[in-house]
């Protein structure tokens, strides 16, 4: 059963990883991804990035994505934390952890989790520029393509 959190609070990668592996001796590898706010977007300086979401549906959608990863790769542990609200450059946005017997499963599950979070969980990013003005981030075809590669074989 994955640990799933959606909220404004920051996360502590070391503490989350320690909690995932504590007392376990069946884990051979832990894959991890942390997404952070960049200070530039399309050549413009960012003041902040605000993440809107769909309360209720979000937690459910993220939990299902995590469950899918747990099943596909027989994960021994899985954590997904996604922040919402206004975040400044350098801030953490998302944490994915996947623990498995072997590294291939841990790393594939990590990539899958972030690919599906980007395309199948109801979050929307709004950029706030240093020079003023805001802009909703457009979905990218390459993110859909990255998510789509998990549709078939599931490797």
């Amino acid at each position: 059963m994955a640990r799933v959190l959606v909220g404004p609070e920051d996360f502590d990668v070391g503490a989350e990883m320690a909690a995932l592996v504590r007392g376990r001796t069946d884990i051979g590898g832990i894959g991890c991804f942390v997404g952070t706010v960049r200070a530039f977007s399309g050549g413009r300086d960012l003041a902040a990035m605000t993440l809107e979401h769909y309360p209720g549906m979000t937690e459910h959608a993220v939990a299902r994505i995590a469950e899918e990863a747990e099943q596909r790769w027989s994960l021994l542990g899985c954590t997904v934390i996604h922040r919402v609200g206004r975040l400044v450059p350098g801030a953490n946005i998302v944490l994915v952890l996947a623990a498995a017997s072997h590294r291939q499963a841990a790393l594939a599950a990590t990539a899958f989790l972030i690919d599906w979070l980007k395309t199948r969980a109801p979050f929307w990013k709004c950029e706030e520029f240093a020079a003023g003005g805001v802009s909703w981030v457009a979905a990218r075809d390459e993110d859909d393509a990255a998510a789509g590669r998990w549709d078939e074989a599931g490797a």
Partner: protein, 86 residues
């Protein structure tokens, strides 16, 4: 034969419509997402423009939906742009 539903809007759709949420009663026959989108576009200029884009996505009762997804009394129906989290 009218259908009361709860409508939610997110991201730029929420901003363009100027509302995050409303309760409406749909006329008989508006019983799929496709029919509801057509109904939205006929509500007025702002709605027509907001729902003109083919990129508007929908969830019914917090599950991603498509044009043929049925809509029934009491449903929660959300409209939003393609997601961009992660």
């Amino acid at each position: 034969m009218t259908v009361p539903v709860r409508l939610l809007y997110f991201a730029w759709l929420r901003e363009r419509l100027g509302t995050a949420e409303e309760e409406v009663t749909l006329p008989a026959g508006v019983d799929t997402v496709g029919a509801l989108l057509a109904w939205q576009r006929a509500r007025g200029p702002a709605a027509a423009e907001a729902f003109a884009s083919a990129t508007v996505r929908c969830a019914v009762n917090q599950e991603f939906a498509n044009d043929s997804t049925p809509i029934a009394s009491g449903d929660e129906v959300a409209f939003f742009p393609p997601v961009t989290g992660g």
